[in-house]
Symmetry: C2
Subunit: 603 residues, 2 copies
């Protein structure tokens, strides 16, 4: 992850700013400031939010490394944004100014409040890392405007795309101002009653079909559903609202049990970028938007903090390695928007100098017409450190394993300081070295992932088996001591629930937290991926970060009509070793066919 963070800092942040400059999304702010808005405005109504997400990424990055360029960029962008704010706090480049539609004239599709939600999240990143600055003051004026306009006595409306809720809740928490949290709660409870107009995709698209407290499962547009759920956890925690917390937990449970891909990806449908029905998980038409991965991590993180249940941090790990890590190209200048689990025909290479109109090209693209994912990846990578560990009243919990130094004080003053050394997930050894003496005992907890059957923990040369969950050691630790967690990294077969129709008769291979895949580059014929079957009786063998399985490619002949009486299973094709690689690395060698789920050869 460190290498990915470095590429994010060195390439992605500037890449995003330069594209937004080039496309006029930044100049949109200048035009408002200069009073030169007109019916011609480049970008979608939500392009403002990209600037705010970049600001958030820059804020985390500035705090992570102290990079002065990030700080300069923050000031530069903040100044341009600030000039566009109206005296009453309203801030939007698409609505509410000369030649543009009036304020709040299209709440279903206009994204005005959504944009402000992202502004608030950017301001929270500043508050958390450097304190109140101009960006925070802009955000405060915008939040106050939202509260005045949509408060209990104001417009009883909501935004088509949830995000203002999580922004307000986080902002209120960071500032200790309850009225922002109350406004978030108000927005949450207004939704689900047909508050917005109906649309061809139905009100489930923006979760205005069922009140969040009553819903049992996520549905509709995945990013919307998940941003809303994240806000609900924030509000539930701030308010001690157990009913609301339980509702989100219940939705998480069923959605994870029945509507989530093995990669952690969410969203089965292209048409509405949405969740499908239970068990509807087609690998080829998986949408699994990168942003839905970001949003899923937001929800699970909040649920972990609220409950301490490791199932949430397990899912975060899965999503980090198999959705977030898949998106950016090695150079940090191209991104997957959709993350299918099966690519039939290799995509065409995307032009690094062109905006891709298509989210599902099968290749990473430099920028998209709807370009929400690059900045979402950027802010997630820049803030990744925050997801690695937590402290509680009695100690330290380590959730994600990456080389890092942690040095914290517990509420009562005890010092908990460790260094994590690991090549995970290339290797399964995680060494936690105590880096400070602390005379009082404290608890060190390490997450053993759900898949890690056979893990061991070694203290002072005494190894013992540990089972999935948080394994906790409570005692006095001395500087220099090393606790070693050994996670089993042998590749393994993983089978789907028999009700997932689209992958019946298939098996996947996982290694540690990584899902593996077969790529056409590694197969003998271009169409071999269509006919490949593997032998499920020969376990996968480890192979340089991936695995090999025993497979063959029967030579099917096309019948004029592909349905008919049973034919004997094709038994031809030589058995050979099929190399599998981490899913997140797919298409890095150029456009390719790819599949995660591998059909197994007959009985």
């Amino acid at each position: 992850w460190h290498a990915r963070q470095a590429v994010n800092a060195a390439a992605t942040l500037a890449h995003c700013e330069s594209w937004m400059e080039r496309l006029g999304w930044l100049a949109n702010f200048d035009r408002v400031a200069d009073g030169t808005t007109s019916p011609d405005r480049p970008g979608w109504p939500f392009s403002d939010s990209e600037v705010y997400k970049l600001l958030e990424a820059l804020a985390w990055e500035s705090a992570r490394t102290g990079d002065p360029e990030a700080e300069t960029a923050i000031k530069r962008l903040t100044a341009r944004v600030g000039r566009a704010q109206d005296p009453d706090g309203y801030l939007n480049t698409c609505f509410g100014h000369r030649g543009r539609p009036p304020r709040y004239s299209d709440l279903e599709g206009g994204h005005e409040l959504y944009n402000i939600g992202h502004l608030l999240q950017a301001a929270v990143a500043r508050l958390r890392t450097s304190g109140e600055d101009e960006l925070v003051r802009i955000a405060r004026r915008a939040a106050d405007h939202v509260c005045r306009t949509f408060g209990p006595d104001g417009l009883p409306k909501i935004c088509g795309h949830p995000e203002i809720e999580v922004g307000l809740a986080e902002f209120g928490r960071a500032l200790g101002e309850d009225r922002y949290i109350e406004q978030a709660r108000l927005f949450l409870d207004r939704r689900g009653h047909g508050t917005l107009g109906d649309i061809p995709l139905g009100r489930a698209y923006f979760q205005d079909d069922i009140p969040i407290r009553q819903a049992d499962v996520w549905r509709g547009h995945a990013v919307r559903a998940l941003y809303l759920a994240a806000a609900a956890v924030d509000v539930a925690v701030e308010r001690g609202d157990d009913e609301l917390l339980r509702a989100v937990e219940r939705q998480w449970e069923r959605s994870v049990a029945r509507r989530t891909y093995i990669t952690g990806g969410m969203g089965s449908r292209h048409q509405d970028e949405g969740f499908g029905e239970d068990w509807e998980l087609p690998p080829d038409r998986a949408y699994c938007e990168t942003c839905a991965g970001v949003a899923s991590i937001m929800v699970s993180w909040r649920l972990y903090l609220a409950t301490g249940d490791v199932r949430y941090t397990d899912l975060i790990e899965r999503t980090l390695y198999n959705v977030i890590a898949a998106s950016p190209a090695a150079d940090g200048r191209a991104f997957f928007y959709a993350n299918p689990l099966h690519q039939r025909a290799p995509g065409r290479p995307s032009d690094p100098d062109e905006v891709s109109p298509r989210a599902e090209s099968g290749q990473r693209a430099a920028w998209f017409d709807v370009s929400c994912c690059p900045t979402n990846v950027a802010r997630t990578l820049a803030s990744l450190g925050g997801y690695l560990a937590t402290t509680g009243d009695d100690g330290l919990q380590i959730h994600q394993y990456a080389p890092c130094d942690i040095d914290a004080r517990l509420p009562d003053g005890r010092r908990v300081a460790v260094a994590v050394e690991t090549r995970y997930p290339d290797g399964g050894t995680v060494r936690v070295r105590i880096t400070a003496d602390e005379p009082a005992p404290w608890s060190l907890a390490l997450r053993v992932p759900a898949w890690a059957d056979g893990a061991t923990l070694d203290e002072d040369g005494r190894a013992r088996p540990v089972t999935p969950g948080l394994v906790t050691i409570r005692r006095v630790f001395r500087a220099g001591e090393v606790i070693t967690l050994e996670l089993p990294m042998e590749p393994r077969f993983t089978w789907p629930d028999p009700r997932i129709d689209a992958v019946r008769g298939c098996v996947a291979v996982e290694r540690g937290p990584e899902v593996l895949c077969a790529e056409s580059h590694d197969l003998p014929r271009p169409d071999a991926l269509d006919a490949l079957v593997i032998d499920p009786r020969t376990p996968p063998r480890a192979d340089s970060g991936g695995a090999r399985v025993r497979g063959r490619v029967p030579a099917h002949r096309d019948r004029p009509w592909p349905y008919g009486p049973a034919v004997a299973p094709a038994e031809d094709g030589e058995w050979f070793d099929v190399p599998l690689r981490p899913y997140h690395s797919w298409a890095r060698r150029g456009p390719s066919g790819m599949r995660v789920w591998l059909p197994v050869s007959g009985p």
Copy 2:
């Protein structure tokens, strides 16, 4: 089919006219005539075509039964359409008049030429059944305007939705006027060179990515691809253009072998209403638009007439029974737009008094926001008689089996007259009774469907086995003689090509030309359809127009995460008889879950 034609005549035609009146789609013509057009105009740009498709249906219906009401409706509608025609022949209610965008200002999305294509097909129906009338004269002026505007020296453009091509080619053939056919050829050959602007879905969406002579498979929007192919066959036949004919045959072959559902349905994706990649045939997200079924029949019929190959009439039969027949409700006042092969959650009943914004509701709807399917079904049912049989130089070929009387003269004057008596497909006996003496020998050919292994033909009490294809008897026939074709109607298992990922490990059951399905109404629990498995070693048994198979419903318990190590296959659940019914009858007992492809129980 006779009952369906009667319902079509008695209910559907008036139903369509009344909805178009109610929604203002007919008044749009009056507004043009009265000069009262404005930016407010109800309906999509292609709503004019619905009026023309209704006119076509009325024309076939009037000829079929001589119904005076149909004739009155034609005159009434023709008068309103005619008043809206500009002096130069231009005819459109969306473009080209006060308060509306200029003529041909949005060829990608405006459907102006598409609309005229349907006007021309309506006029052809009149020409074929009653001769030149006011509708034909309107059509001629419109066609002349198109030829002047888009001819060799005119605008070198095409329409985003193919249809003008098939309209012009048919119109030219019916009138014997070559210039219309030449204009159709010009449109055909202009397409495929990036003649239209690019769109987010890509130029394949409207087949402007590859010239039709070079393409190997259908791709993009299914109805567009198929209307274009129909036109290409017409032009190829009129011009003796073998290259073009071979190209369409080649595209048909691969598309039928790799991109067509067992129902004959075409179109695997909702997002673009389009064909997917080879082998991408998800049953749950099958789009299989009813209109694509109509268009597929148009293509196959033309290919049969051009080549005499029964594979085309086989596909027509399949599509008629499993797409067209599925669409209308029993009362002819509601229709399926999409025809999925697996419905997970029962749809909600649609309001017979409301326009459905959603094509894929899982229930038939009275009318749609985009309402292309009801009129397309209406014109197909009204003209169905034309698909039953053909004559050639030496005799009569019968392709589809329905009770009917056929009385025709061959080019040399021989009289071929038969009556077909059958309850097909409820029963498999087709009796062809000769109804006129003819002293000279002639050929009677009967299609034995591809699935009909074990069919027999009985002449004068002597039965003999016949194999799929056209079975031909050439001799002197006397009035009163009966030739009996016995088709085997035992239900049968049908297996998919192993490369169709989405239905791996499943089997379907067919009976005669009908695909069967399981419906939640017939199962013990609402979620039984998710877990149902059937025993593939027990052949299906016939059961009152459907079948029964041996199946059971294991009680799967949800795991928190639906992927993991192999678990022993669930062996619980009592075996019971699962009733299967014809797919075309699904959801006629109210909203239901449904599936065509049935998972088979373990090894």
